[in-house]
C-alpha cells in the first residue's frame, strides 16, 4: 500500500482517481488546488503524486517545481493529468520534473498501470 496525493480542481475527476486508487488498496490524500498539493506533499510525504496541470492559483507545473525544490521530495514520482488540448504543456511538465502523464478523459486501467509502474520503479 502506498500513500498517494491526488490534486485536481474537478471534483468528479478527483473522486474517480481517488476511488480507483483506493480500490487498489492505496491511501489517498485528495486536494483541490496546487497550493494545497504543495502543502500536502510537505506535510504528508506521499509515495506518489497525481497532479492536474490546469488548477486555479498554483498550476500543476508550478506545483512540481516547488515540490522538486524540496530536497526530501526531489525523487517523488509525479504523474500529470492533462486535457488533450494541453498536451503541449507535457514537454514543460517533463522539464519541470514530471515522470509520466495521462490525458483526460482517462482510462481507469491506464491510470492503474501507470501508478503501479511508477511505484514499483521508485521502490
Amino acid at each position: 500500500m502506498a500513500r498517494i496525493l491526488v490534486a485536481d480542481d474537478d471534483v468528479d475527476i478527483r473522486e474517480l482517481v481517488e476511488f480507483k486508487l483506493t480500490t487498489m488498496g492505496h491511501e489517498i490524500v485528495a486536494v483541490g488546488d496546487g497550493a494545497a498539493a504543495i502543502d500536502a506533499c510537505m506535510a504528508q510525504k506521499p509515495d506518489l503524486a497525481v497532479l492536474d496541470v490546469m488548477m486555479p492559483g498554483v498550476s500543476g507545473l508550478d506545483a512540481i517545481r516547488a515540490i522538486r525544490a524540496e530536497p526530501s521530495l526531489a525523487d517523488l514520482p509525479v504523474i500529470l493529468l492533462t486535457a488533450r488540448a494541453q498536451e503541449s504543456d507535457v514537454e514543460t511538465g517533463f522539464d519541470s520534473g514530471a515522470d509520466d502523464y495521462i490525458t483526460k478523459p482517462f482510462s481507469p486501467r491506464e491510470l492503474a498501470s501507470r501508478v503501479q509502474a511508477l511505484l514499483s520503479r521508485s521502490r
Binding site: 474537478d10 473522486e15 474517480l16 476511488f19 480500490t23 488533450r84 478523459p105 482517462f106 482510462s107 481507469p108
Partner: protein
C-alpha cells in the same frame, strides 16, 4: 365606517398577508431541505456504484451494473445528473458502460422530450444529454438543435454533435458556423474533439472553388484543419495563399504554422510581399512556428518591415526560436530587435 377603521383593517390584512408569505417561504424551505437531505442519503451509496461501474474490476463492474439497473425511478433521479456529468470524463469501455446504464434508465426519451420544451434551458440540457448518450438514432434530434431559436441551445447542440462524427453531421456543423459566426468557437471545440473524421471534411471544403459566402466557410475549414493537425491538408492550405481574401490567407497561414511543415516555407515567404500588414504578420508567426533556417531567414527580413507590428511579430518569433533566433536579434540594427532583447532580459531578471 371611519377612515381609521379602514386603515386598521388594511393594516391587519397586509400584516396577515406578510405572515402567510413568511410562513409559506419557511415551509417551502423546510420541504426543499428535506428533499435535499433525502436525495443526499440516497445518492451516497448509489454514487459508489456508479464510480465502481466506471473504474472497478470486472466482477465489481458486474455487481455495480446489476445494482444500478435495478434502481427505482427515485433512486435514479438522485444520481442521474451526476452520472451524466461523469460520462465525458471517462474513456473507452468505462464511458460506454456508464452510457448503457443511463440509456437503460430511459434517459434517452427524457432527453429527447426536453429538446421540445418551451424552456431554452431544458432544450439545451436535452441536446447536451443526447450528445452524452451518443445514440445514432437520436442524431437528427441534436442536428435540429443547430436551428433552435435560442443561441445557448444552438451552442450546446453544436458541442453535442461531436458525439456523432459522421461526414453529413460535420458538414452541417460547418455550415451552421459559417452562417452564424458566433458559433465559431463551439464549432472549433467540437471539431477538436472529433479529430480525424472532421479533418477530411475540412480538406474537401478547402479544395472547393472560392466565391462569396464560401470564403467564410473555407476560413473556418482552414482554422479547423490547423487545430486537428491534419498534415495531408498542407497543399490545400498552401493553395489558399493565392486567394484574394486576406482573412482566408491569414487562417491558412495560422493553420500552416500549427502544422509546421517545412515545405510550406516557400509559400509563407511569398506572403512577405502581401499588401496587408495583417497577412504579413500572420506569415511571421507561421514562420516562427515552422522554424528551420528558411524560417529564421524570413523572420530576419521581417525585422525591417515598414509596419511596426509585423516587425514586432518577427522579433517575438525570433526570441522564441532559441539561440539562433536570439543571435539574429543581437546582430540586427532594427529597433524592434533591441526591444525584444530588452524585454527578454527584463523577464529573465
Amino acid at each position: 365606517m371611519t377612515i381609521g377603521h379602514i386603515g386598521y383593517w388594511a393594516a391587519v390584512t397586509v400584516g396577515l398577508g406578510c405572515l402567510v408569505v413568511v410562513v409559506s417561504l419557511i415551509v417551502i424551505r423546510l420541504h426543499a431541505d428535506r428533499d435535499e437531505r433525502r436525495t443526499q442519503e440516497l445518492r451516497t451509496p448509489l454514487w459508489r456504484d456508479v464510480l465502481m461501474l466506471g473504474v472497478g474490476e470486472p466482477d465489481e463492474v458486474d455487481a455495480a451494473n446489476r445494482t444500478l439497473l435495478a434502481l427505482s425511478p427515485e433512486e435514479q433521479a438522485a444520481i442521474e445528473d451526476d452520472t451524466f456529468a461523469l460520462v465525458p470524463k471517462l474513456r473507452g469501455e468505462a464511458r460506454q458502460r456508464v452510457r448503457e446504464v443511463l440509456r437503460a434508465w430511459g434517459s434517452v426519451d427524457r432527453a429527447r422530450n426536453s429538446t421540445t420544451s418551451p424552456s431554452p434551458v431544458r432544450r439545451a440540457r436535452g441536446y447536451y444529454r443526447l450528445g452524452v448518450l451518443a445514440l445514432p438514432e437520436r442524431r437528427d434530434d441534436v442536428l435540429a438543435g443547430l436551428h433552435d431559436r435560442d443561441f445557448t441551445a444552438r451552442r450546446t447542440a453544436m458541442l453535442a454533435l461531436a458525439s456523432f462524427p459522421e461526414h453529413a453531421v460535420i458538414e452541417e456543423m460547418l455550415l451552421a458556423a459559417t452562417v452564424e459566426p458566433r458559433l465559431r468557437h463551439d464549432f472549433l471545440a467540437a471539431v477538436d474533439q472529433v479529430g480525424g473524421p472532421a479533418a477530411d471534411v475540412m480538406v474537401e471544403h478547402l479544395r472547393r472553388a472560392t466565391s462569396g459566402d464560401l470564403d467564410r466557410e473555407r476560413r473556418l475549414a482552414a482554422e479547423a484543419v490547423g487545430l486537428v493537425g491534419e498534415i495531408d491538408a498542407v497543399s490545400s492550405l498552401e493553395g489558399c495563399l493565392v486567394e484574394d481574401d486576406d482573412e482566408l490567407r491569414i487562417a491558412a497561414l495560422q493553420a500552416l504554422g500549427a502544422l509546421g511543415s517545412p515545405s510550406s516555407m516557400i509559400v509563407v515567404t511569398a506572403q512577405l510581399g502581401a499588401s496587408s500588414p495583417d497577412v504579413r504578420q500572420a506569415a511571421m508567426v507561421a514562420a516562427g512556428k515552422i522554424g528551420g533556417p528558411s524560417g529564421l531567414m524570413l523572420l530576419g527580413i521581417g525585422l525591417g518591415d515598414k509596419d511596426v507590428e509585423v516587425a514586432r511579430a518577427a522579433a517575438g518569433a525570433l526570441r522564441r526560436s532559441g539561440a539562433s533566433g536570439r543571435s539574429i536579434l543581437a546582430t540586427s540594427q532594427a529597433p524592434v530587435a533591441r526591444e525584444a532583447l530588452a524585454l527578454a532580459a527584463l523577464r529573465a531578471s
